[in-house]
């Protein structure tokens, strides 16, 4: 049985367990039909030209873990921002871990989607926002069909969340192979502020495929600072779909740090619905071995006087492959726009590959849109300069790579997180330098 068939047949059993009068019933039925019609995307589709799901969909994934695994905090501590106080929503093999989590309903809701979907008091929010910005491409639809668990975050208006919220999905390897489909809903009210860190972490060498969907809504003057830490092992694959809906004067930033995983696909979609929106998409990708990362971004400018800034840096070693497919779509009404897109790549080895494809579709006539893309090696002259000052070749290369990624790192506003990412970069590059940038 193919994975598609397996998913379709398990959907019947899944639906049976849910109440028939669930408000999501029709939505799910529609969604599974969409997936049935479209199936897994193939390289024949333009958006998937450089990323093949062929191999990872061959695996016989378990779709729900048979037993609940417990984790000790000390064993997974390293994946948390343990030196600073945070809210935590933690899932172990797709199941909520109350032991590892720290949720709240005190002025804000930081809790579970399953609770939000089943309790009446959340109904207005669910009805207003759930699946309202998510696209109906096949994999998002697949997630919608099976959506039942994930993070639910609701920040009411004028509320500034005083500590970061961590969303962490662990997989333990209790199943020979596992497919997870977390679904997150984040609603940020007018003039409210939040910082969120999302991480998917496999704790074993057993294959994991995560098909994740996150919807984020930022109301007027809302501020969302979102960090994706992707440093998984070489048997873990992630297909992420993040949809961000911005009302006027809102600022939304997504920083994606892709340091590892078998296959990672980031579908990042911003929709600016009001004037004076600002969208920031930053990324640092450092890959080695046979890892693959595909950044597929869309910034859809609908209203006038908005801004968007994309800055993606990639460093690829060994046989690693990267894709940057960045699209800026400017509607006729989106005048006075300032859109900027930058993608710079360094290929360390002869066998590493990057496919970069910036796309601008502009229907307004009074806009400023710029994009730049570079692919190169480390600057030999700069290397010689550093080495002539006594800095060894390996360290000199590392220093240049740090410097290359630095302006993206600068945008990390949580000092502890910045320190951690710094350390991860040093680890990736295989050196320790005596300072943080």
């Amino acid at each position: 049985m193919s994975l598609k068939e397996k998913l379709l047949s398990s959907y019947i059993a899944f639906e049976d367990h849910l109440e028939a009068d669930s408000p999501l019933h029709d939505l799910r039925t529609q969604a599974i039909k969409t997936f049935e019609n479209l199936g897994f995307p193939t390289k024949k589709e333009e958006a998937w030209k450089y990323t093949s799901l062929n191999k990872i969909t061959k695996e016989d994934y378990s779709l729900s873990p048979k037993k609940v695994s417990a984790l000790d905090f000390k064993d997974v501590k390293q994946y948390f921002l343990y030196d600073v106080d945070t809210y935590k929503i933690v899932f172990v093999d797709g199941v909520y871990s109350s032991f590892l989590s720290e949720t709240t309903h005190d002025g804000i809701d930081v809790c579970l989607l399953s609770a939000a979907l089943s309790k009446d008091k959340y109904k207005p929010v669910i009805e207003a926002y759930f699946n309202k910005v998510a696209k109906d491409d096949s994999l998002t639809a697949l997630n919608t069909a099976f959506a039942k668990e994930g993070a639910y975050i609701h920040i009411p208006k004028h509320k500034e969340v005083e500590k970061p919220i961590e969303i962490i999905n662990f997989s333990t390897g209790s199943e020979a192979s596992l497919m997870l489909q977390p679904r997150n809903l984040i609603v940020v009210g007018e003039n409210a502020q939040v910082q969120i860190i999302e991480r998917h972490q496999s704790l074993s060498k057993n294959p994991v495929l995560t098909n994740s969907v996150t919807e984020i809504f930022a109301d007027k003057r809302g501020y969302v600072d979102y960090y994706k830490i992707q440093n998984d092992n070489t048997e873990a694959s992630l297909i992420d779909h993040t949809f961000i809906d911005q009302e006027r004067d809102s600022i939304c930033k997504v920083h994606t740090f892709s340091f590892g995983g078998k296959l990672t696909r980031n579908n990042l979609n911003f929709y600016q619905r009001g004037e004076h929106c600002d969208s920031v998409l930053n990324g640092i990708t450092i890959l080695e071995g046979k890892q693959h990362v595909d950044h597929n971004t869309l910034v859809h400018h609908i209203a006038p006087n908005c801004e968007s800034h994309q800055d993606y840096k990639g460093i690829f070693d060994d046989n690693a492959t990267g894709v940057f497919n960045g699209k800026v779509y400017v509607e006729k009404e989106a005048q006075k726009l300032d859109a900027f897109q930058q993608n710079n790549n360094i290929l360390i080895s002869d066998k590493a590959t990057i496919n970069a494809k910036p796309q601008l579709e502009i229907f307004a006539d009074d806009v400023r849109c710029s994009h730049g893309c570079t692919i190169g090696q480390l600057d030999e002259e700069a290397l010689f300069y550093l080495r002539s000052r006594g800095i060894g070749q390996k360290e000199a290369r590392a220093l240049l790579m740090y410097a290359f990624a630095n302006n993206v790192l600068e945008s990390v506003k949580i000092p502890e997180l910045k320190k951690r990412i710094n350390k991860l970069i040093a680890q990736k590059i295989g050196v320790s330098l005596g300072f943080d940038l």
Partner: protein, 249 residues
Amino acid sequence: MLHIKDLHASVEDKDILKGINLDVKPGEVHAIMGPNGSGKSTLAAVVAGKEEFEITKGDVELDGEDISELDPEERAHKGVFLSFQYPVEIPGVSVTNFIKTAINETRKAKGQEDMPAGEMLKMIKQKADLLEIDRKFLSRSLNEGFSGGEKKRNEIFQMAMMEPKLAILDETDSGLDIDALKIVANGVNKLKSNDNAVIVITHYQRLLDYIVPDFVHVLMDGKIVKSGSKELAYELEEKGYDWIKEELV
């Protein structure tokens, strides 16, 4: 200290140095002058270990040890310093972090501990004062957006921090106005001792008014064609290089 014997070097099969002989003893200042394209910067880069150049013949010895096969960083560890004609801009690395890394990597190579932070700061302050460098300057990205003069001053600041045995100043005077030139020259003179040596590469005699050479060498077409005292520099300034060419014929 530095002993160069019949040095030939080429880049992409093009011969640039065609038999250089040079002896530099501790405490000496040597000036190397010559027209554009004569091989001055190549000589500096070859001594510092730039891999782009291939040594096809001859020796480069530092304190009796052949250094021609060593990596640039190994030469730096042994006390060779090159002040670049065109210092490279490295956005994202501050001057301070860069110099700390350079010093501690050098100490590590010699089996020493990192320099204590307090001591490092003190040294940075002292050397920055010597070269009249503003503290704010030190937290800027290395050479990024620096004026020509700032870049050169920063090179000499690094030299002051690294305390090399042999410093090669490759056209350090270009891009400097007279005030900056005096500051840089003053810095170099203060760092000068009986144990170290300086090679000054320049087009113009101007710098040599402030860093006074013991010897002046004229490099033409990859060879040192004439050596003399500091008076030779004045002669070159006045008469150019053509008379030497004629002398050679």
